[in-house]
Symmetry: D2
Subunit: 476 residues, 4 copies
Amino acid sequence: KAASYTDSSDDETSPRDKQQKNSKGNGDFCIKNIKQADFGRREIEIAEQEMPALMALRKRAQGEKPLAGAKVVGCTHITAQTAVLMETLSALGAQCRWAACNIYSTQNEVAAALAEGGFSVFAWKGESEDDFWWCIDRCVNVEGWQPNMILDDGGDLTHWIYKKYPNMFKKIKGIVEESVTGVHRLYQLSKAGKLCVPAMNVNDSVTKQKFDNLYCCRESILDGLKRTTDVMFGGKQVVVCGYGEVGKGCCAALKAMGSIVYVTEIDPICALQACMDGFRLVKLNEVIRQVDIVITCTGNKNVVVREYLDRMKNGCIVCNMGHSNTEIDVASLRTPELTWERVRSQVDHVIWPDGKRIVLLAEGRLLNLSCSTVPTFVLSITATTQALALIELYNAPEGRYKQDVYLLPKKMDEYVASLHLPTFDAHLTELTDEQAKYLGLNKNGPFKPNYYRYENLVWIVFEVVKEIIFECLMPA
Amino acid sequence: KAASYTDSSDDETSPRDKQQKNSKGNGDFCIKNIKQADFGRREIEIAEQEMPALMALRKRAQGEKPLAGAKVVGCTHITAQTAVLMETLSALGAQCRWAACNIYSTQNEVAAALAEGGFSVFAWKGESEDDFWWCIDRCVNVEGWQPNMILDDGGDLTHWIYKKYPNMFKKIKGIVEESVTGVHRLYQLSKAGKLCVPAMNVNDSVTKQKFDNLYCCRESILDGLKRTTDVMFGGKQVVVCGYGEVGKGCCAALKAMGSIVYVTEIDPICALQACMDGFRLVKLNEVIRQVDIVITCTGNKNVVVREYLDRMKNGCIVCNMGHSNTEIDVASLRTPELTWERVRSQVDHVIWPDGKRIVLLAEGRLLNLSCSTVPTFVLSITATTQALALIELYNAPEGRYKQDVYLLPKKMDEYVASLHLPTFDAHLTELTDEQAKYLGLNKNGPFKPNYYRYENLVWIVFEVVKEIIFECLMPA
Amino acid sequence: KAASYTDSSDDETSPRDKQQKNSKGNGDFCIKNIKQADFGRREIEIAEQEMPALMALRKRAQGEKPLAGAKVVGCTHITAQTAVLMETLSALGAQCRWAACNIYSTQNEVAAALAEGGFSVFAWKGESEDDFWWCIDRCVNVEGWQPNMILDDGGDLTHWIYKKYPNMFKKIKGIVEESVTGVHRLYQLSKAGKLCVPAMNVNDSVTKQKFDNLYCCRESILDGLKRTTDVMFGGKQVVVCGYGEVGKGCCAALKAMGSIVYVTEIDPICALQACMDGFRLVKLNEVIRQVDIVITCTGNKNVVVREYLDRMKNGCIVCNMGHSNTEIDVASLRTPELTWERVRSQVDHVIWPDGKRIVLLAEGRLLNLSCSTVPTFVLSITATTQALALIELYNAPEGRYKQDVYLLPKKMDEYVASLHLPTFDAHLTELTDEQAKYLGLNKNGPFKPNYYRYENLVWIVFEVVKEIIFECLMPA
Amino acid sequence: KAASYTDSSDDETSPRDKQQKNSKGNGDFCIKNIKQADFGRREIEIAEQEMPALMALRKRAQGEKPLAGAKVVGCTHITAQTAVLMETLSALGAQCRWAACNIYSTQNEVAAALAEGGFSVFAWKGESEDDFWWCIDRCVNVEGWQPNMILDDGGDLTHWIYKKYPNMFKKIKGIVEESVTGVHRLYQLSKAGKLCVPAMNVNDSVTKQKFDNLYCCRESILDGLKRTTDVMFGGKQVVVCGYGEVGKGCCAALKAMGSIVYVTEIDPICALQACMDGFRLVKLNEVIRQVDIVITCTGNKNVVVREYLDRMKNGCIVCNMGHSNTEIDVASLRTPELTWERVRSQVDHVIWPDGKRIVLLAEGRLLNLSCSTVPTFVLSITATTQALALIELYNAPEGRYKQDVYLLPKKMDEYVASLHLPTFDAHLTELTDEQAKYLGLNKNGPFKPNYYRYENLVWIVFEVVKEIIFECLMPA
């Protein structure tokens, strides 16, 4: 009997206890079910259509192989989009071994397709903590394999190698890290003088910041709410906590669909923007009794506390689009007088003694990761940046990068952006010589200086400046 | 082992061959699996939250039972929303027997919850043609049951009774019909002098026309496309064929999400509206090579023919939001040189010999029925209208309605609308006596005359006028 | 010294007391100052650019002159747009004599340009009541002139002829009337059996209804508020009274510019639309203390009464976009304790004893007539309809039109719309034979039946039906 | 005879040749006509309503006078908003003498009101070059007056003092400069080591950058186009060159009003944003033949050159919203074969030999300065920042500021923003102690680090860094 797309109930055996081989007899992987490979391949093909820049890189790689000889060990979400990235790295000449950076986020059928395609993947949906580290270890520590590049998302892989196989860093040319958390860890290592290879901070590339947050959230807030609750947006009263890029995206989308949106803010400048954009700026307690939906986008903790949850009206939907999973004080709802009822996947009704129900999504975790798909196109931007960062670090002449954390040059950001323009059949204007001179720019960019992105990472400026001064003052 | 939410693979037995009883020992129903009742109950509870008007009717019915003695036989989609309607009718005093009006649309777990709740439901997802009529027959023809009201969606139930049990009409007080098709059939019967009971045309109530089309499509086009393809809307080029209410809703939503939208029209007035609303008005062939998504909303046939499909670019998504399922000439794609690949439920890749893929949704059938949920709130408006139509016909003094097709009085439309305003915490302004006099209106409405809705049903005016003339000329 | 554009202070003489001649020696007109003709000509040329349909009619008229022999007497606003209409009628073969339908609305320089161009115009800005009728009389009653067509806006010209020169109607082939008021008068005449020529009701053409209200108000509310008050829209709280077409236009524009908009309504159906469109539906007293701008669009009287004006906050702007000038109870502000201060043209500060100021625009009269320009393109639609109505009535074979009030056939509406599409470089799709048959339509339209427009004119249906019945019942 | 609001034609005498005194007998000013003071006072009162922050500063100044002893010499546009600023400085304790920074921008009636109020104002509309410097000199060089603060817009005043009265700088505590040009000059002085007092760069405050550009342009593009051309926006095809903050504001407004908007860009990142926001990214030559309106927002030169102007269609409107007045190559239109016709103030028809007309606004200068009003509220933000900068420089302890150019601290920016929130009845949320600790922020801000604003001022970072390095490397 063929494996069905959604069905895996027939098989409760742990993947670690199974012996599976792909159609070519290769068994160097550990996944849920190799039979799902066909389903996964289709998902990958769909994703390819929306990842034009990686496909363009593959085409260019037909001649030169900029990653020939690279041995990349990776630890990211295992999704169709990651698969497109991995297959691109492979086309560029790299060998890859891969684990999941999250115990729930693996698409089993995609992992199967990768395994069938010859990738050494170690990941499945619903790993235990122990499985998680076991998978990572299997990517790193296998005979005859010495990785020379790290692609990490969250820093767990990097951490593991630091802890277990520090000697490995002798051969490693660099780390590419995507997440806020992972980048933070790297800077700490760097400050402590313990970073022993160069690292690329992909998280703070301007394309990721601008596109991941504003545009991605604009679409995924609608999708996440619809898939979980089928709520109609027209006429609904919604309060959005926080008016940064994420909040701006959520507010714009909901307003466009006919919701009435209120905003809370702590920063007067963002607050004034909310006003000018046509949103009533309120304190949460002013509207908490009347709103139909509460969305947190602050990156702060305890924004929606029990006191507010107690005062919400029956049927109010509560969800989190921010960075941390502490924005909603979910712990405060785990009390005996409240009944939890799981009504759908990712949807709980929390029921008060008087019968009032709150609809809590994803148990307060990130809605757009749990309950909606992130548009492939947006992920394409990040994945392309990762690929370029790997190429850059792998090919950089000795000395260009020290044992420190780097941002991709602005020109590279612009290159990533330009690789995505053909998708929109968009035609860029070129400066004339005269205009370039007038503006003091190179005709091919960069059009903004490297410091552009420092809006989101200002403390780095301090580091840079301090370092320069330091170096200057201590020439010998 | 408990039945799981999605799993029914364990059981290929036809429901007609099973013996099931609910927890009270009642077996007068035929559904997929009574064990799914709990799952269905939760769906119904979720739906109740968005159907405030029916819940309000239930509250009022605690004293008087306006449908006491009513025996309603129904044939509609069996969904959570229908369940809320049925349980409301029951609370108002009616007895109900129910079948599905579509062989695919039944939510099995909802049917189970209804059966568990004591309703005689005959419906499951994936009925055969024979099952379909068998189910209808089981609603009508059972010993000790003589229906006196019909609630129909599509006219099949009405047709069956006409054909098989014409004598039943002696006891039937009226028919309430929701669909375009069913209403059309009723008017034909009426013209032919064969309509033997009064019928209420719910399809052409102004609330249904305005809200079902514009607002419903505004939300469901996004939802339908996202759930099937995860496509990112930002920057996509879309052509929408037809700029009626449905097209207007689709265009507004996509423009708001950052798509670039083109419109085709045949009517210069709608065309001028599209222009003024900011859409380029084109012929399909002008943009067919460049667009990423094609959406039909015309009600016409063969709008997207093979010639256009041949010229679409790789990855183009094609779907239908109009009334008929003939807008896309799907038949023309069933040729040997094209390969069909089912990539997800409701999603086919049609592959040209050169590798080009078209993404066809729902095989050209209605996207919003197949691939998205219709907002419960919008269905609430229709369901409330149906309930009020049943009450009106059931309680009308003899002679008020003849053997003809009627529209609900405008005042009733306004009443349905006003029952939905509390959802939005909306406060209606009342006319002062002086203002009412100035405007020549009654303070309690109707605020627009009955003919208001004739925008969408002009031929009725002709009928009415013709009839009046006819009656006048032939007084004896 | 040449006449300057705005300067007319040098000349307080009444035009009736002046002897002026144009450059060809013709003196059959009465206007402010013939020297302003050049300025007026430029305004007319600007208007021509936005009136493509009339320009197209002129081109077609190079061969046939459908109005050859027509002697049109007109009474409308004398603006650049009217001038384009008059010069088109002339190009189509008509002779014209013209007066103003409003004592304030004449653009003196346009009147000068028309006089210079040979038209017999009798109008200036700031006519007295006596001047007003004198001008009309001079258009009608001049030796050697027997008008055979009437183009009226408000019915004053028609009224004057009825009263003074009833015999003239023997030669008159028809009346074209644009305004609500004028149309109302015609229906009354018709009911009373006193209408002695056919009349075309241009006011209720679907193009005028849809485009004049929604699209025109969308632009003119912003323009009117800016020109009078320079108010910033972003973040402003606005209440719009009434959510018909005018209210919808105002709300959409202000929401788009970042205002927070509240709506009041009496009709539950419009109220529900406002909710679904994302506006809080309130009673005026709920928000009157907090709003920055109050806009009336109801067509009702005493919507904003003294009680509300007393409670507005300092600096609140109050204006009227509705049909009547009674929506704001301005009379209630003419009391001794309130001080009026004219701060700009059309802008009064009304000052309360405590220093609070209300900013009242146009003394409560229509904002878009007084304080903004109506887009020429929208006026083009109406002017084209007037021209076509004149052509139709003038050329209709005897018997086609009786002594009654008519709407232009739907097909004519569609024709007007189609004449405006080239402006947008818009390309209409044509039905195939097969599609036309499927829809039961003629390939060239009409695409909607004639009764379509009755949404806005329902009472006519009643009249028609009543009449039919009446005639039927009283055959002898 | 009283002076009328618009009329000044009676008086061609140069203000310099007139002897005027205000009602208190003071004659230390030079303006057009002191009799217009009442009209100006009304404009100032209107402006006060939209400048809440300055009014709040005045209230606080009732006790302490932070500018007591300050002698401010100013050179800015003389408008109602400037008057509110000047009267606020006066209320804070300062003495002022003022000239205009532009020969055309003075509102004569406002200058009159200021003179009547006792301010020494030297400015009128239509100054000659010689007048311009004479006025500035009269502000600086008068017996018994030694300025100690400079408020400049463009740097001309600063330049004049440098050139003519360099010794004055001994007593001057600081310069506050608003414009890009002026700031540039100051940095050059600073680099050259010639800046002899501290200077505040107000131009690059985040509030000015974000609010002046995006929000201001969103409103003024519509207003500017309407007042000059009365063009209808619905359905118009528009190309916007440049998608920075100004371009984003223009695009958003026009899209909202129903225009079809195309964008040109040179920077791939801004280009990708335009795509995601729903605009077709094109090269100018792709759409130049079809668009109705061309708007430049690039800050670049020769964006619209003769070649493009030649290919525009008849009636195309061309205007500039960018920073420089060289974006449109107006000089290329001054050729013999083209005829210029001034049709209204600020509106020229440029006519090609074949009769084609281009509608050129403001001769290619900034549209929003010439043809629309800038919302007072936006100016309020800048004016408040100027006032705070003066207070800061005037009261700073010795040594806090050196002879260099400074940005206002971020906290001051946030303070300016917070002073404007009450206008919107906006309620800011306060961090709890726990949250502040979690985010590592002070509860009272700043909420973003000082370098935040460097997005718009990156070159300064380079300068700073270079300087540091320079200093470090050359310690002796």
